[in-house]
């Protein structure tokens, strides 16, 4: 498989009022073209930070991300991001939101009619053709996330970066969107890095699951191959021994090897995150 993206010895420290905080240390990862990678780990371990470094939104303190042989040092549409809370411009319709991206990326490369067709094509990929002319406050959370995905896909990115894309959705909507995403991934063969908190989601969607240790100085703990054949069907997989074995491995990593012990002093906002997580996991 051809390598498309490489993280080599990525480390990052944040300057805080209480001194330097090392969030990531020596993160090494190679990603092949067309691979679907999930990043999983406890809240606050640094998953978003990894993704933002790949996106170019954050600058690594040491090491770096290399895309197609070139080091990444600023954001760009070839690394499209689907943000956790959709990040659609609220004053534009679904169509116009995608149009903004398409106009930037394909200016001078596509004619007006071609752009129109491309926008509509991407909205139909995520099943949003019927609500193209609605604004974000007129559509549901799941629909907004679909538009966000359409916007990212429309940039024809080399790598699609998704930060908990379905985190804020209910279980049913999430399952729908996961199926859509699997479908799109099969059709287009995008390279995808997705952050998730959901073990089932990670196993269902990924080729490999990257499990991160707890911070500070978080790094990659284990990488699990998911050799399940595609297309995958969530109902059939429920009883599949291989699926359950993969699931088991991730759960073991999260709840045995990386059991979250509450450190005594944490930066304020990760304390908040821990509370959120305690509620989530009972």
């Amino acid at each position: 498989m051809k390598m498309i993206l490489e993280l080599s010895k990525v480390g990052i420290s944040f300057e805080t009022p209480r001194g330097s905080f090392e969030a990531l240390k020596e993160v090494d990862l190679k990603i092949g073209e067309g691979e679907f990678i999930s990043l999983i780990g406890h809240s606050g371990c640094g998953k978003s930070t990894v993704l933002n470094i790949v996106a170019g939104l954050l600058q690594a303190t040491s090491g770096g991300a290399i895309l197609d042989g070139k080091e990444v040092y600023e954001p760009g549409p070839e690394r499209a991001v689907v943000f956790q809370n959709h990040s659609l411009l609220p004053w534009l319709t679904a169509y116009e939101n995608v149009e903004l991206a398409v106009k930037r990326v394909f200016k001078g490369k596509k004619s007006k009619a071609e752009m129109r067709e491309w926008i509509e094509h991407n909205l139909s990929l995520v099943h949003m053709s019927h609500a193209m002319d609605k604004r974000p406050d007129e559509i549901s959370g799941g629909m907004k996330q679909r538009v966000g995905i359409a916007r990212a896909l429309a940039m024809q990115p080399r790598v699609l970066l998704m930060d908990e894309p379905f985190g804020a959705l209910d279980a049913l909507t999430r399952a729908h969107l996961q199926d859509s995403l699997m479908d799109i991934h099969r059709k287009l063969g995008n390279t995808v890095i997705m952050i998730t908190h959901d073990v089932d989601e990670a196993v269902l969607l990924s080729d490999r699951i990257v499990m991160m240790t707890n911070g500070p100085s978080a790094t990659i703990g284990e990488v699990l191959d998911v050799p399940l054949p595609r297309p995958r069907d969530r109902l059939a997989l429920a009883d599949d021994p291989l699926f359950n074995r993969c699931r088991q491995r991730v759960l073991q990593f999260l709840y045995e090897k990386q059991r979250k012990v509450q450190p005594i002093s944490l930066p304020i906002d990760s304390k908040k995150k821990n509370k959120k997580e305690e509620r989530k996991h009972g």
Partner: protein, 333 residues
């Protein structure tokens, strides 16, 4: 009939007319119309009572009936003024025709009518001045606010100045503005009157601040997510401002504009009074100096007019805001 869609607010009225209003609809109507009318009537009644008990050196304080009488007097004066003006121009034309007939080489000289402005002329003058001053203020404040909001260094550099000048009353600016305009604005054939320029600049200086501050706050609080979207798309500076920053900040900009227009109107009246510049403020001052038995009634008419116009200006801005701003929630009040 049912195929025609009516705006929502008409519905309760229709049902009342048709005699099929529900209890809730009647109650809603009472709240919407009944209570404001009740408030107004109570005010007029109390005003009437109070007016009779206040004696001034110019007679009793004007009550509602004096005021309504003065309204018609002012209107009559306005009509008379207009008739005089028309007659003046007619006479002038006749005179010119006669002279041209007698001497074909005569180059006609036309003079402007110089009668004193009526109450309604003063309203128009004030409205034009306030709009110009407000426009100048907005044209300065919005771009400046955007720059301040975008750059923390510009913000740090300008913040002390803004805090220093924001609370300055128009009365303090007025002498300075008057002197500077007199010194700088010299021309034999001025396009606009000097007094107009003085009033306008004073209005601008005082009404600048709410727009400036609200715009910069609106720009500062653009969501980080949207900024990230802009970075991923590699939008250039101008496009970032046009497509992300301005739409995000528009609700706040409008909040600022509405505050500014309110201040502009208040400041203008004060400036006109103090500087004797034409407009409603001068009308009030002249009547006060005049000191006839009708003066207080006429001043009261001006007071109510000033309030009404201020209210209408605010409603106009609100309408504009509703029309232009995507975030309809921000334009509720």
């Amino acid at each position: 009939m049912s195929s025609i869609t009516m705006p929502g607010w008409i519905e309760p009225y229709l049902s009342v007319v048709k005699g099929e209003a529900s209890r809730a609809q009647v109650a809603q109507l009472l709240r919407q119309i009944g209570l404001p009318v009740l408030g107004l009537l109570t005010f007029i009644f109390l005003w009437h009572i109070a007016a009779q008990r206040i004696d001034t050196s110019l007679g009793k304080f004007p009550g509602p009936s004096d005021v309504s009488q003065q309204v018609s007097t002012l209107y009559a004066e306005h009509k008379a003024g207009r008739a005089k003006e028309k007659a003046f121009y007619q006479r002038q034309e006749v005179r010119i025709e006669d002279r041209v007939a007698a001497d074909p080489d005569y180059v006609p000289v036309r003079r402007d009518y110089t009668g004193s402005p009526t109450f309604f002329d003063q309203i128009i003058t004030s409205l034009i001045t306030v709009m110009c001053g407000f426009l100048v203020a907005s044209v300065i404040a919005i771009p400046l606010g955007i720059v301040i909001g975008l750059s923390t260094s510009v913000h740090a550099a300008t913040n002390p100045l803004i805090q220093l000048f924001k609370p300055v009353s128009p009365l303090a600016w007025l002498p300075l503005v008057t002197m500077v305009v007199s010194a700088v604005y010299v021309s034999d054939d001025p396009m606009v009157a000097k007094s107009f320029v003085v009033s306008m600049i004073t209005v601008s200086l005082c009404s600048l601040w709410p727009t400036l501050i609200n715009t910069s706050v609106g720009v500062t609080s653009v969501s980080q997510d949207l900024v990230n979207v802009s970075r991923v798309l590699r939008l250039g500076w101008a496009e970032h401002v046009r497509k992300i920053v301005i739409p995000s900040a528009l609700p706040m900009i409008f909040t600022g504009l509405r505050l500014s227009l309110g201040i502009a109107w208040m400041v203008l009246i004060a400036a006109e009074m103090l500087a004797q510049n034409p407009g409603l403020g001068k009308f009030v001052w002249d009547e006060f100096q005049n000191g006839s038995s009708q003066s207080l009634g006429r001043i009261m008419v001006a007071v109510l007019t000033i309030g009404l116009i201020g209210f209408l200006l605010d409603r106009t801005m609100l309408g504009l805001q509703r029309w232009l701003v995507w975030d309809k929630q921000s334009a509720q009040r």
